[in-house]
């Protein structure tokens, strides 16, 4: 197996402080039932000074040159017929970072889809996640959302930016041998399905993130993956007891959901500080799980 900086494990989870590309390349073929995660959004955030940080790149090209390797290895380790789901959004760029001096959108979502398909994945589904434009305006003060512009120079205005979950499938002859994911109607009645099948998810919350566990002096994770989104994906696309993988586990959000839902979890994170928090979060998720008593790990909308 590959070398890592550090590692830790519970009964139903294993976490590795490692470069995910290298780690994933060392994993056995057809060993993962589902992967779900947010990749670094190209160069939007730099997470660490490490040469391996995929956010620490000079260009989108450079980002995809490295991310592509993960996409390829992820295909190999995924069981035939099973899925990978990535949480992404498009990026706004401004004149100061553009050669042409223009302002607009970079279709990061589209590029992720293109590269997955190029690496052999089948594009399977795109869920649009509604986000409130008013909150976005308050947070970003984006030129694209100002009422002032809407009144005086509306060509400048855009609209709110949704998030997306793009889902891909490993399509291959051997897929019949992989057990099907099933949903007993007693637990998952028709109306649940109808809600989840919606092409636009209107009812999830961006504030529904792992927030506890950050001690005062610890930096907050720049963009933890919402738990409610993760939960739907984990429930729809894996059976209890199966293995869920997050190559960019950050502070462990996907792992916490997976463990809580009775799945096994495997995750990698490069930044030691995030890794340590992920381990803490996974440990407490497992304790709560066995105690059958969920503490309030969720900050919820009210927070």
């Amino acid at each position: 197996m590959t070398n890592v900086l550090d590692q830790s494990a519970g009964t139903s989870w294993n976490a590795y402080n490692a470069d995910t590309v290298e780690f994933t390349a060392g994993m056995p073929t057809n060993s993962i039932d589902l992967s779900v995660y947010s990749p670094p959004f190209s160069s939007l955030y730099i997470y660490s000074e490490s040469e391996r940080d995929m956010g620490n790149v000079d260009s989108h090209d450079e980002f995809f040159a490295t991310y592509r390797h993960l996409i390829r290895e992820k295909l190999r380790i995924t069981k035939p017929g099973r899925l990978t789901a990535i949480h992404v959004k498009d990026l706004v760029f401004y004149s100061n970072s553009s050669e042409k001096g223009d302002r607009g959108l970079y279709h990061f979502t589209g590029e992720c889809i293109r590269v997955h398909v190029e690496e052999g994945w089948t594009f399977h589904r795109l869920i649009t996640i509604w986000r409130c434009p008013v909150k976005e305006m308050q947070k970003t003060k984006s030129d694209r959302l100002l009422y002032k512009n809407f009144r005086t120079d509306a060509a400048r205005t855009g609209g709110g930016m949704p998030e997306y979950i793009a889902v891909f499938r490993k399509w291959n002859e051997a897929m019949e041998n992989t057990p099907a994911v099933v949903h007993p109607p007693s637990q998952f009645p028709l109306d649940v399905w109808q809600e989840w099948a919606s092409p636009v998810w209107m009812d999830t919350h961006e504030t529904n993130v792992l927030n506890v566990g950050a001690k005062n002096d610890e930096e907050r994770h720049l963009c933890p993956m919402p738990l409610d989104l993760t939960q739907r994906i984990v429930l729809q696309y894996s059976n209890p007891g199966e293995t869920v993988y997050s190559p960019f586990m950050g502070i462990g959000s996907e792992g916490v959901v997976a463990v809580r839902e009775g799945r096994k979890f495997l995750g990698t994170e490069l930044k030691p500080a995030y890794f340590k928090r992920a381990v803490r979060n996974l440990q407490s998720a497992e304790e709560n799980q066995t105690a059958g008593d969920l503490l309030d790990t969720f900050s919820g909308d009210a927070a």
């Binding site: 197996m1 070398n3 890592v4 590692q7 470069d19 056995p28 391996r52 090209d61 490295t66 495997l266």
Partner: protein, 481 residues
């Protein structure tokens, strides 16, 4: 060498390892941690680059003409002598040596211009000599080496450059000084990095460059590697065109005006008109010659117009008799033609004795010789001739680098007067001037790009953390294929 260490297991993903290596590589400084007080007369930008180079141990100062790189280099040498208690050798182009000795004296730095090893004696100091004389010395006695006008390496034969690189490969402190390189000049950057022991040229090429599909034999920077490449260059060099590149004020660094005059000779096109080669007139005698831009055609053209161009140059020189004139020629027959017409003019050409070349160049620099005729490849690099403000080109070659450097001998910081550049050419050679003008535009654009990248890189020349995982990972028992 370089600071990246690849862990053994990246072997599974060679292509990925390559990407990471390209991203992470940075040169580790191997100079002095404690830098003593530097000369109080250094300008802030000179102090900054000198400190950087002392800290790096092996470094390049890419300082444009007139920014005082010799003072910075001499001060660097002084500190190396002091710290190592060994002499430092400074290699300079012909006739530049005495100039440096004078400069050192002015600042109270102990440096001596010498021609042979016998002249080395007494306490350790800086010894200045010419590249051409390197064989007279045993280099392992020196604690440090300075290559002055190091871009001259380019004009040496490959063997000479390779010899220099290997001669000094064990010298602990190495400094290269030259004007900012042309940004696309990877040969020059590669030679510098190899000389400084930072990375071999082929490794540099394979890391960041790609063969240009459109241009056989040419290489260009890989697009995603542009910033990474300059970041790496910034880890072992400082590149300054103006003090503001390093965040200092530009006061006093504004160049005087330069005026370029083109004088054209109307070539007689009926000579050697040749015959039609194609079409229904094939074989028929042509009325006029049709010059093209092939090397042979240009040469033929030049020979035909040599006398006329020399007349024009002589006219210029005669019309401004109080002034010193520097005449650039491209060929010996041009030089002969000009010399015949200008009484008192002296020439410096390649075949002459070293000492004669040197004394003539020095006489011109001191102002005792009024008209000097020479070639850019001989005197185009390094000399400070800002006492002179008139120059004439008896003809141009396609080399923008030569043209630029030649002009820079007089048009540099320290020049107090407007500089006049006269170019004599035949109307049939207009293509050459057009190429030079285009290259000059390209050069400025790319230089700008490089400056921005280098400025950014110098401002936050953060070195990425390397990734060295030591623990073997264990997979859980429940994971299975």
């Amino acid at each position: 060498m370089t600071s990246h260490v690849l862990s053994a297991n990246t072997g599974i993903l060679p292509e990925y390892a390559d990407l990471i290596a390209r991203k992470a590589v940075a040169f580790t400084p191997r100079g002095f941690d404690q830098i003593p007080d530097l000369h109080p007369d250094l300008f802030p930008h000179q102090r900054a680059v000198t400190e950087f180079a002392l800290h790096a141990g092996c470094a390049a100062m890419f300082l444009d003409t007139g920014l005082g790189k010799s003072f910075s280099a001499l001060e660097w040498g002084r500190v190396v002598v002091e710290k190592t208690n060994k002499p430092v050798i400074m290699l300079a182009p012909l006739a530049v040596g005495p100039q440096h000795e004078r400069e050192a004296r002015r600042f109270g730095i102990d440096a001596k211009y010498i021609r042979t090893a016998d002249e080395i004696e007494g306490p350790a100091r800086i010894y200045i000599t010419n590249y051409e004389r390197i064989d007279n010395f045993l280099v392992n006695q020196f604690g440090g080496v300075i290559l002055d006008e190091s871009s001259i390496l380019k004009s040496f034969a490959g063997v000479t450059t390779r010899k220099l690189i290997s001669l000094f490969s064990q010298t602990p402190y190495r400094l290269c000084c030259t004007a900012t390189p042309a940004p696309n000049d990877h040969t020059e950057l590669g030679q510098h990095s190899a000389f400084l022991g930072i990375m071999d040229a082929p490794e540099m090429m394979s890391r960041w460059f790609i063969a240009d599909q459109q241009n056989a034999g040419k290489y260009r920077l890989k697009k995603p590697a542009v910033k990474a490449f300059w970041r790496w260059v910034a880890s072992w060099s400082r590149c300054v065109s103006l003090p503001s590149d390093l965040g200092f004020p530009d006061d006093g660094y504004v160049l005087p005006k330069i005026r370029t005059y083109e004088h054209t000779v109307k070539a007689d096109r009926t000579i050697n008109a040749g015959e039609e080669s194609k079409g229904k007139l094939a074989g028929q005698q042509r009325l006029f010659r049709m010059p093209d831009t092939s090397a042979t055609a240009i040469h033929a053209e030049k020979r035909l117009t040599c006398q006329d161009r020399a007349d024009l140059v002589a006219e210029c020189v005669d019309s401004d008799p109080e002034e010193q004139w520097l005449i650039w020629c491209d060929t010996d027959y041009d030089a002969d033609a000009v010399a015949e017409r200008i009484p008192g003019a002296e020439e410096v050409r390649g075949s002459m004795q070293l000492s004669l070349k040197e004394s003539r160049l020095d006489a011109f620099a001191q102002g005792s010789l009024r008209v000097l005729i020479t070639k850019p490849s001989i005197a185009g690099y390094g000399l400070n001739l800002q006492g002179c403000a008139r120059m004439a080109f008896a003809g141009l070659s396609f080399s923008y680098e030569n043209y630029y450097q030649a002009i820079r001998r007089c048009w540099r910081f320290g020049q107090k007067r407007e500089v006049e550049v006269h170019i004599a050419m035949a109307d049939t050679e207009a293509a050459i001037k057009r190429v030079i003008d285009r290259k000059s535009g390209d050069h400025l654009a790319m230089k700008h790009e490089m400056q921005i990248a280098m400025r950014e890189a110098a401002a936050n020349s953060r070195v990425l953390q390397t990734y060295e995982p030591k623990q073997e990972a264990t997979l859980p028992a429940w994971i299975s294929a």
